[in-house]
């Protein structure tokens, strides 16, 4: 071989001119053949709006419905045969609202290189529930990718349409209401920063601004409540989410800005708005560094609101962490004597959970199935929760460090959320944080932040890993009961009123865990009801604790006595809140506990019986505290107390501002106590849907399962927890 080559080379060298000519010819031929090869090239497909470029198309009003046109372009160097154009939805897995169709188009057709054709999509909403449309049109063809390999999935283009809300020029507010509610407080943060740079000194106006912003949030929330369609199901399109805002955020990581509400999150959004408003009013007792305080307060609200509306895992994580830092500073700077310890403890506990949550999210991202981003770009990985819900995680059979991946990830996520709830044994940060935090921050902490834990479990653990949820349900219930009993007994042992309320939170949040562990529709509904009501009631309790602390700078129960004669109105409020907290029928606290027992009794009889004894202890410590504080004999040494001197030695009665911050909560507690329908209405469908997911492992609301999603049970574990449920 080698000799032959050498020989050839010598021959060539001898006929240099000839070789040169040959080379020239070869070059010419090569160029020609390259062109010839081009003719046999493959077509590449590109979809986009008729105005050029890529991206999703907006459907605009056209007669009875909405219509839009997109282009199919052949950007390759060969012909492209389009074999099928269809909307990305099916009866088994309805991804978009009904009534979306394509104008007739001859199929199949061939596009020459550079040629385009237009396809028209029409949405006739008719009786469709969905107010908006997010979906894809798929175009199947013989196109190849840029590197010449075949496409893994058909090309797609995103569709978007929104029906008007009837607000005229303010329609955009309604369309983006969740984004506006999330980022409205950020306006406050920026305003305060600018005020600081300009050297603005009248801080009390910044306080007023915050109250106004939070008032606006409540108004927006009220409108959201009014417009929320509680009967919308997954099958009605958009995966059952409403008020969706969805755009691509970071393309290289397939992250979307994706927010929306459904039956699980709507109550939390409303609660956040309300509690933030109450907290802003309660913040009037803060006196130092107002600029910093209100900047942090507003930022905190951004984080909380964002956490409840985010439907993209990375977005969720960002909001989750955004909430963390302001909380650290709010406790650490404006808190009580041991504020530094409490702040760092809160911070480290939550962060310890969230780093593992992040690993879990990365796991979801990297192992997700190929799908499309909202604008139609095909991707192999995604963070969007509705897409991840369609992935059959268990059947992937993945392992982490030799253990079943779904279980490991479930535990990671659960620990992150359990810290937040807080579940025994991760609860120790809570009493410290509550005792040291200023009143308004305690209200937020107990009213909203604890709910992020249960919300996260419902949104992530239940919806993404249903099989592992069934595997772990008994553990959840057992921890729930420990929380109830342990929290109640701890509360009973407290002398500090605020610590008592803090432990009562531990106890009450135990009900949500027990309810979740039951895996029944009533249980899930009970969890959501308990979350909402506990938010209202503890909000009241912490505000009331703040009232007395502001007056005499102590919360020691044993130092009080006979306050009922001094502050009759205040005593009435406390009595009301305590009754609500111990679950007196007729006040809203009753429903959460009662429904928990109803929901979990069929599954865990013994546990429910044990938990029920917790109710007795709960009643005991509430009444005992009430007795120690308000009944009995008033102690005369208070008359000479230095804090009461300006008031002539008398306890000043609860004032107008304080009542104003309590009133909305108290009214809601009373109304929902007798007539819980307005709350249950929102939750009913949401809890049913979650139950359906974990019960069958199915994502679709109809009986048939999508391909590849078998109702598998974690049989390998050998325990028979699942059998007990049936």
């Amino acid at each position: 071989m080698f000799q032959r080559t050498v020989h050839m080379a010598r021959t060539f060298a001898r006929y240099r001119l000839f070789v040169a000519l040959l080379a020239l010819a070869a070059t010419a031929l090569g160029a020609g053949s390259a062109r010839a090869a081009g003719a046999e090239g493959r077509g590449r497909i590109e979809l986009g709006p008729t105005t050029g470029g890529r991206g999703s198309i907006d459907l605009v009003t056209e007669g009875e419905g909405y219509q839009g046109t997109f282009e199919v372009r052949n950007v390759g160097d060969g012909p492209l045969t389009v074999t099928r154009i269809a909307t990305r939805t099916s009866a088994e897995d309805p991804r978009m609202p009904p009534g979306v169709g394509l104008k007739e188009h001859p199929i199949p057709f061939v596009l020459e290189p550079g040629e385009t054709t237009e396809v028209t999509v029409r949405w006739t909403p008719g009786a469709a529930r969905a107010r908006e449309l997010y979906g894809h049109v798929l175009v199947e063809s013989d196109a190849v990718r840029e590197d010449g390999t075949p496409r893994l999935q058909p090309a797609a283009v995103g569709l978007r349409a929104e029906r008007p809300l009837g607000l005229g020029p303010f329609d955009w507010i309604g369309r983006h209401i969740l984004s506006i509610m999330t980022f409205l407080p950020l306006v406050g943060v920026i305003a305060i920063f600018i005020a600081h740079l300009l050297g603005y000194k009248k801080d009390k106006y910044l306080r007023l601004m915050t109250v106004v912003l939070m008032g606006l949030e409540v108004l927006l929330a009220a409108w959201l409540y009014y417009k929320f369609d509680s009967r919308m199901l997954r099958g009605d399109g958009n995966d059952g989410f409403q008020f969706v805002d969805r755009v691509v955020w970071v393309r290289s990581l397939n992250v979307e800005y994706f927010v929306g509400v459904d039956g699980i999150s709507i109550t939390m959004v409303l609660l956040t708005a309300l509690i933030s408003f109450v907290g802003a009013i309660a913040s009037y007792s803060v006196e130092k560094q107002l600029k910093g305080y209100f900047a942090m307060y507003n930022l905190l609200v951004v984080g909380m609101m964002g956490t409840f509306v985010a439907l993209d895992l990375l977005l969720f994580f960002v909001f989750w962490e955004v909430m963390l830092l302001p909380m650290y500073f709010l406790i650490g700077i404006w808190g009580g004597p041991r504020r530094q310890y409490a702040a760092i403890k809160f911070f480290v506990y939550t962060l310890a959970g969230s780093v593992f949550m992040l690993l879990g999210f990365i796991f979801f991202y990297l192992n997700s199935d190929p799908t499309y981003m909202v604008d139609g770009q095909s991707v192999t990985r995604i963070f969007a929760i509705p897409e991840l819900q369609r992935v059959a995680w268990l059947s992937k059979g993945l392992l982490i460090l030799g253990m079943s991946a779904v279980k490991v990830v479930w535990v990671w996520l659960f620990v992150a959320f359990a810290i937040k709830i807080p579940m025994f044994p991760f609860h120790t940060w809570l009493p410290d944080a509550h005792v040291e935090a200023p009143t308004a921050i305690s209200v937020i902490l107990a009213g909203v932040l604890l709910k992020m834990g249960t919300y996260g479990i419902l949104r992530m653990n239940f919806a993404l890993l249903p099989e592992a949820t069934r595997w772990a349900a008994p553990a959840m219930a057992i921890f729930g009961v420990i929380n109830i009993i342990y929290g109640a007994f701890c509360a009973m042992a407290q002398k500090d009123l605020k610590k008592l309320v803090a432990y009562s939170s531990v106890s009450h949040m135990g009900f949500t865990l027990l309810a979740l562990g039951a895996l029944t529709p009533q249980g899930i509904e009970a969890c959501l009801v308990q979350m909402f009501n506990h938010g209202l009631i503890t909000g009241m309790l912490f505000t009331l604790v703040g009232v007395v602390y502001d007056r005499v700078h102590t919360r020691d129960l044993d130092k009080f006595g006979g306050l009922a004669q001094e502050m009759p109105l205040y005593s009435a409020f406390v009595g009301f809140a305590f009754m609500a907290s111990l679950g007196l029928p007729g006040l809203s606290g009753f429903w959460g506990e009662a429904m928990t027992f109803i929901g979990s009794f069929p599954r865990y009889r013994l546990l429910v019986v044990i938990a029920a004894t917790g109710v007795i202890v709960t009643a005991a410590y509430h009444l005992w505290a009430l007795q120690r504080m308000f009944l009995g004999k008033f102690r005369e040494e208070w008359r000479t107390n230095k804090y009461l001197e300006p008031h002539g030695g008398r306890f000043p009665e609860i004032n107008g501002r304080e009542m104003f911050s309590l009133a909305p909560l108290a009214i809601l507690v009373l109304v929902l106590g007798f007539w819980p329908r307005p709350l249950l209405r929102l939750i009913d469908q949401g809890s049913l849907q979650v139950h359906r997911m974990i019960d069958t492992g199915s994502v679709a609301p109809v009986a048939a399962l999508p391909a590849g999603r078998e109702p598998t049970v974690l049989a390998a574990t050998g325990d028979d927890t699942d059998g007990e449920a049936r």
Binding site: G292, L324, G332, V348, L358, L366
Partner: protein, 509 residues
């Protein structure tokens, strides 16, 4: 693709010529100008101009995507080297801007001439450029030594300051040992492959590996010895001992520079050596055969040790500068995590992290310097007490930098760490999971000492209530570094895509 000969190569060497030219001009300027203010400003203008020219030439090269081998195979001219040229020019310019107020304020400060510093920094930048472009063991050694020797001088820049001299001496001794070990390792590699050229080494390594069915032990030994030298440059454990003392002793602008510039250059060199000579990125770690190379384990162990040592040692530091020194060791560890993956996502994650790290770490040192200057050189935690009241904007900026270093979203550091961890999780085997969990736990630990500074700034009362005065240069520079730290945390796509597109290296012989 044939390597260009010496004459042809000159056309691609413009960025380096600009630096060398400016060095000579700065020396001349120093000789002939008497007025101190004019001297410093002129030297700075010359330096920044040269850096600007260097960066923009690199930018042009990057845009053109040219890929050549220069000087008969000694140096590479590719997107990768150009990307790092831009980064080095930026880092050097920022560090010199940091130093400006103190250079102006004190003529002949500590017995040194301010223009000297500019000259030295230019020379280090030249060395770093060469490090990122080296494609030959010889060039690697020469460029590394160029950077090291000049760094010794810079570290001991405070004449008469005991800490500074101590740090510089430690730096010299450690540097000598490390470069000796590295040279020894290189001799093993050369002995096995009989070439200095990375491309030829790659071919020989491949042949040997396939022939023996495993990575030959002598090669393993040689590479590990070389890692000692490179690990010294990026301050990876156990070659990190010099870092805290040098960082604490050196003038803060120099510390800021050392913690970012030479470290990034070290990573550039590591990246090129692993991917070019060991063929790590082309066939994963498999070297084109079924052989599992041991480098994942080596890099992983190095990363784990570095992170852990850095973070745990930082926990108890009262001097903020020293704390940041340990933190920079820990960050070297995070970046080394990317080497345990070393395919597309891994290298891009390292590249992106280097960028994010550059902003946040420079920023943190800048604020520390501003605070120390206002407190008469006090760099301990006590100087930061109540900074939230005394200088709210400065404190806010430092919190942003520190929490970004800790990896809290939505800041640049979080995104960087996210890519690193997701690269590990993407591999998905046991070792990668162990590393990922280790990295996550480490970033949790790191939060303690970053939060300590935040606590001192916001949660404790200041000893004096008077506001901290900050020079305008520092104020603007702080803002200019804080902004990208936030923006990269919220919308990083363009930068990530840019880095991803710029990591292409030449691989020819």
């Amino acid at each position: 693709m044939k390597p260009l000969d010496n004459i042809q190569s000159l056309g691609y060497f413009g960025a380096e010529f600009a630096l060398v030219g400016a060095m000579l001009l700065v020396i001349l300027w120093d000789l002939f100008v008497k007025n101190h203010r004019t001297k410093v400003l002129g030297a700075l203008a010359l330096t920044v101009a040269a850096l600007g020219v260097s960066a923009s030439m690199a930018g042009l090269g990057l845009a053109a995507g040219t890929s050549e081998t220069l000087f008969g195979g000694l140096l590479a001219y590719d997107r990768f080297s150009n990307l790092f040229r831009i980064l080095f020019a930026f880092v050097t310019a920022v560090a010199l801007l940091f130093a400006l107020p103190s250079a102006l304020a004190r003529p002949k400060r500590e017995g040194r001439n301010a223009a000297e510093m500019h000259m030295l920094m230019l020379a280090v930048t030249l060395g770093m450029n060469l490090m990122a472009a080296s494609r030959s063991l010889l060039m690697i050694y020469v460029s590394l030594e160029l950077v090291s020797v000049l760094s010794f001088v810079l570290a001991g820049f405070k004449l008469g300051d005991k800490k500074s001299s101590e740090g510089a001496l430690k730096y010299v001794i450690y540097g000598g040992v490390a470069s000796g070990v590295m040279l020894y390792g290189m001799s093993w590699v050369y002995g096995l492959t009989s070439s200095l050229n990375l491309g030829e080494i790659a071919v020989a390594v491949h042949k040997l590996t396939v022939a023996q069915g495993k990575v030959p032990e002598p090669l393993f030994l040689g590479v590990v010895c070389m890692l000692a030298g490179l690990g010294y440059k990026v301050s990876a454990a156990p070659f990190h001992m010099w870092t805290p003392d040098v960082y604490e002793g050196a003038p803060t602008p120099v510390t800021a520079f050392l913690s970012v510039g030479p470290k990034a250059a070290g990573f550039a060199l590591l990246l090129r050596f692993f991917s070019d000579a060991l063929g790590a990125d082309r066939a994963g770690w498999l070297l084109g055969s079924d052989v599992q190379a041991p480098w994942t384990i080596v890099a992983g162990c190095l990363a784990m040790a570095t992170m852990t040592v850095g973070n745990l040692s930082a926990l108890n530091q009262d001097n903020v500068k020293r704390m940041l020194a340990y933190s920079s060791i820990a960050h070297a560890g995070y970046m080394l995590l990317g080497f345990a993956v070393f395919d597309g996502p891994g290298t891009t994650a390292i590249g992106f992290y280097v960028f994010a790290y550059c902003f946040m770490n420079l920023g943190a040192f800048l604020v520390v310097m501003a605070v120390a200057e206002a407190n008469g050189g006090d760099e301990t935690l006590a100087a930061f007490r109540g900074l939230g009241k005394r200088a709210p904007v400065l404190a806010l900026a430092l919190s942003i930098f520190l929490f970004s270093l800790a990896g809290v979203p939505p800041l640049a550091g979080f995104v960087g760490k996210f890519y690193l961890f997701s690269a590990l999780v993407g591999v998905g085997d046991t070792w990668s999971w162990v590393l990922a969990v280790g990295g996550v736990l480490n970033s949790l630990v790191s939060l303690f000492f970053y939060a300590r500074v935040a606590r001192a700034m916001y949660l404790t009362e200041p000893e004096s209530a008077e506001p901290v005065k900050v020079s305008r240069v520092h104020g603007v520079a702080t803002f200019a570094l804080a902004l990208p730290t936030i923006v990269l945390g919220v919308y990083w796509a363009p930068v990530y895509d840019f880095v991803q597109g710029s990591l292409a290296m030449v691989h020819s012989r």
